[in-house]
Symmetry: D2
Subunit: 338 residues, 4 copies
Amino acid sequence: MSAIPFALIGAGVIGRVHARNIGSRPDARLRWVVDTDAPRGNALAAACGARFSASVDEMLADTSVRVVVIGSSTDAHEAHLLACIRAGKAVLCEKPLAGSLDGAGKCLDAARAANAIAAIGFNRRFDVHHRAVFERVRAGAIGTVESVHIVSRSYEASAPAAAHRAGGLLREKGTHFYDLAFWLAGSEPEEVYAAGGCLFDQGYAAYGDVDTAALTLRFASGALATMSFSRRTTYGYDEMIEVFGSRGMLQSERQRSRGVSFYQGDKVIADGIHSGWYERFAPTYVAELDALIAAVVAGLPADPGLADGMRAQAVAEAAVASLRQGKPVAIPNVWQEV
Amino acid sequence: MSAIPFALIGAGVIGRVHARNIGSRPDARLRWVVDTDAPRGNALAAACGARFSASVDEMLADTSVRVVVIGSSTDAHEAHLLACIRAGKAVLCEKPLAGSLDGAGKCLDAARAANAIAAIGFNRRFDVHHRAVFERVRAGAIGTVESVHIVSRSYEASAPAAAHRAGGLLREKGTHFYDLAFWLAGSEPEEVYAAGGCLFDQGYAAYGDVDTAALTLRFASGALATMSFSRRTTYGYDEMIEVFGSRGMLQSERQRSRGVSFYQGDKVIADGIHSGWYERFAPTYVAELDALIAAVVAGLPADPGLADGMRAQAVAEAAVASLRQGKPVAIPNVWQEV
Amino acid sequence: MSAIPFALIGAGVIGRVHARNIGSRPDARLRWVVDTDAPRGNALAAACGARFSASVDEMLADTSVRVVVIGSSTDAHEAHLLACIRAGKAVLCEKPLAGSLDGAGKCLDAARAANAIAAIGFNRRFDVHHRAVFERVRAGAIGTVESVHIVSRSYEASAPAAAHRAGGLLREKGTHFYDLAFWLAGSEPEEVYAAGGCLFDQGYAAYGDVDTAALTLRFASGALATMSFSRRTTYGYDEMIEVFGSRGMLQSERQRSRGVSFYQGDKVIADGIHSGWYERFAPTYVAELDALIAAVVAGLPADPGLADGMRAQAVAEAAVASLRQGKPVAIPNVWQEV
Amino acid sequence: MSAIPFALIGAGVIGRVHARNIGSRPDARLRWVVDTDAPRGNALAAACGARFSASVDEMLADTSVRVVVIGSSTDAHEAHLLACIRAGKAVLCEKPLAGSLDGAGKCLDAARAANAIAAIGFNRRFDVHHRAVFERVRAGAIGTVESVHIVSRSYEASAPAAAHRAGGLLREKGTHFYDLAFWLAGSEPEEVYAAGGCLFDQGYAAYGDVDTAALTLRFASGALATMSFSRRTTYGYDEMIEVFGSRGMLQSERQRSRGVSFYQGDKVIADGIHSGWYERFAPTYVAELDALIAAVVAGLPADPGLADGMRAQAVAEAAVASLRQGKPVAIPNVWQEV
């Protein structure tokens, strides 16, 4: 089998991660790097032995390209997704799906109409620890899921303006975890309550954004998820999940960077958690690509797909509204096929 | 110094714990056991070498009694507290403080007017693990507290009717943790949102009660606490606390009953958490008594005292209202001296 | 049932532990405290409401005394044990059994001839963690025991002269762990190799003693135990056991004093192990007394008994010889009834 | 910089690991695969885009080859090493260095005479956990090293004949850990005592080999290392290290395959250790190759090098003698340059 031709839109941090992962596979080949920033795009293309273009259309005109990874800025996702789907490509789009719920809906409709293989970059689902929890929940190890608790605390806070451009805490960070909570609870989200504030940097307030949040998500099954978010810690990237059910509890534990303990004085000092999200989750980007390639080869739908992206985005919009209104907000089910 | 004369009102489960702990101290002596159930009260009195009475008044007439431990049913707390305070006794009252916020307020007013040594039985504050977390938070180890997460899951669910008589999940279980959250956050609670449902036993619904709940508490400082409650687990009594701040995170870990691990197959099977709350927290009842005796000997206020009980009760009433109304409810500050 | 009358020989550190534990039981009563140091003995007797005597014979003449706890210095054990057994008392003797293997043998013979209830103070067997490991090994959880590893490191080193008087590292510390290894391996010890040295204090060398040792014990079953001893740590009293068998591995983990973790910087800083052996093992002295009283009440042999003390002492003498000779030394089986 | 040309001798399990790792580096290129088993060698060569030869000489005649990785059978190491060194190649030789101490000595002499870059495949030194312990020991975190304990238990036992061909337990498994112990103790080994037996398979006895062993290693500094080896477990590949010193203790903990815990009944069931040594140590082969390439590029000696291989082999021969003779055996220092 010859290698599957890939294109990449966006040569930023996450784009470079995808380029490296595509490059390390014998069954994939990166043909194009597209970026509006020509020097950046050219540099990555050169390093990968790919062609550079500033134009998505030029790349899409190359009929040999089968898969496009979209790592452009969030507000460009909609246009890029629609163009790729129209051109008959399989896609992997970074989250969040689009800059607005409407835009996300158009993408989802287009993908459904075209029967496209369209994946959303919810890489957390590919973490071996989280996935092992998921599989056991599905296998019935804990019976019926009754509650979920998710901690996600970034290591370094984005500056307020950049954070706003990325959608704010409840969209940028949140979508990952709304999706995880749905995936683990095995039930559709119906209502969200978001409390939050600027506890360490008032700068976010100017954008209606927060640095700290606590969320409650209610699912159709009655299960409740709580989430605790922060934009920064002093001890690394902190992510942890507990799923409690009628027959037991499963934990995806905090992961430490090294298994070293030091006994001294009245303390046992262990090496701590990973310093950043990438150090913690690098393997998930590889696994996500594996899953996409497997779907492309088999001609099967992507999982998670655009409907999952749409669901998370609907939760995010309701969470933003809840934060503003100070009360729980119902989540309209806009992701289910009618 | 001769032993301090104690009386005990209530010879139920918790009354027997207090009787045993008083009996094991050389500096305390249990003189009276009062209970409306004569056989039960007589039996405990006999076992402890104390006198039995069915009448609180008869016991209070014994001017040698210095301290009364109130372990009667919740709806009797108010009358017993008022009588003891009027009689000039020091008291330790089991939580919740009273059957209603009004009743609790009367007790608090009476205690303040009489300058009584009046303790509330928030035994969790005396757990060595929780207390070590508290002390480090106060010492500034994690900087400013930004969020708190508390898990409390009972091992065996009370039947719906009994649970209702005890005040329901948000009062009976909740008051312990509203107090802990305040204590750890170091700030007064202002608003609470309670979500919950009957996920495994619809019988609670008839009483407006739930078996599962998720709460969000907002403090004056802006700090947010989340709580995850359940009426039962299949794996023991589950309690865990995380306090996150601007300079680090402190955890009061789940406690295992034994430090034994078994490596077999692809698992490491460790001895689990304690089977029940008493197995987990037995030492706290001893420590709580120590603190009370120290206060009595020194003539100092009890800590935690009735104002702490009043605060927790105010949160509980707001939480119950929130659950009913489906939105956050403000907590009137009724515990502060004006 | 009236309380069992006890006497205590030795009012030192360990004697005071026993006195306190006897005093806290409703079914036991300390009648006598015997010590050659009259002020010390008198003080303890007074505190316990017991009579003091400088004479073991005077105490033994009190026919009401049923049980004697021997906490005198090691070189006095033999005389005290023989006198108590002759007087028909049940005994609990602190380890090591006697100052010499010959002396230990005489005690064992006397106890066997008299059919005495005679316990040896191997308190480690009463640790709930160690005992849970033992019970699962016996229940077959790990199949056939193939190897055992034991760590024991004291917190504070005894001064060389005092350490020598207590028998040296391989006797004083060692006997606990030779007994544990036998108990866990379920097989008689046949050969021992002891390596060691003065790694931090040359003062022990003057007495032929060491501050650090590594031992290998071979059992009749072929199982091998390794032990790592030190006279001091900078991080508390360190004890840990691993038992490896044909079907799995069991661990009696290091016990931490508190379940508190602090996340900061690139570390997770947990509260460490107990500062001293007493903090770690206080409950075992209570459980050891429970077992003795149960044996006395039922008229059953003590477990562990003097034969266990004799075995451990035989291993100790062989270990001392091995250290001196620099090669493994066979352990003559002097503890089995012929 | 153009890619460094590599050759590989041996297309077995470990050879394939090296081939894959060389192939994944942009700065290295596998040119030759040499094996006496032509189908096996050809297959690997084809998969890697390398040439195959059954002849080491043919490969060595290719002057472009700079580095040779020797993964042939142990008895062939000597001839292959000498030939490569003579041909001026840098080498990485799998452990043990040679089939005999004499043979190992010839290789070491040749490498010294030629000033060759000659690495020995002690991959454990490249484990991030072990290495972090090493670096902190070197940095003085635990003061002076006083004792070391190493556990190594294979998951699946080799059959007796194959185990014998590989040198037996004390050579094949042992050399890794004699080297680790030296590396961590920071002192030369002087004496070894090996006890062992056939506890689960008498088949090893026919070859003078064992399935279970306990070793004590004494270093020039006085430090003592204990080791506990087994040929199989029922719970995965088990490796753990503790280094105890005058100022603390460092642990390279058992590594679990996943950070998932399941609370059910009276147990906490965690995902266990890795099923095999390769799953546990795969990254170390990559890191070992990184270090070799860095040495080749910089023209610096390899670390660990042949002298380290020679030391470990000398310990192994003394351990085998100790096992046979039943007493400690001195280790002649044959690895130091005179």
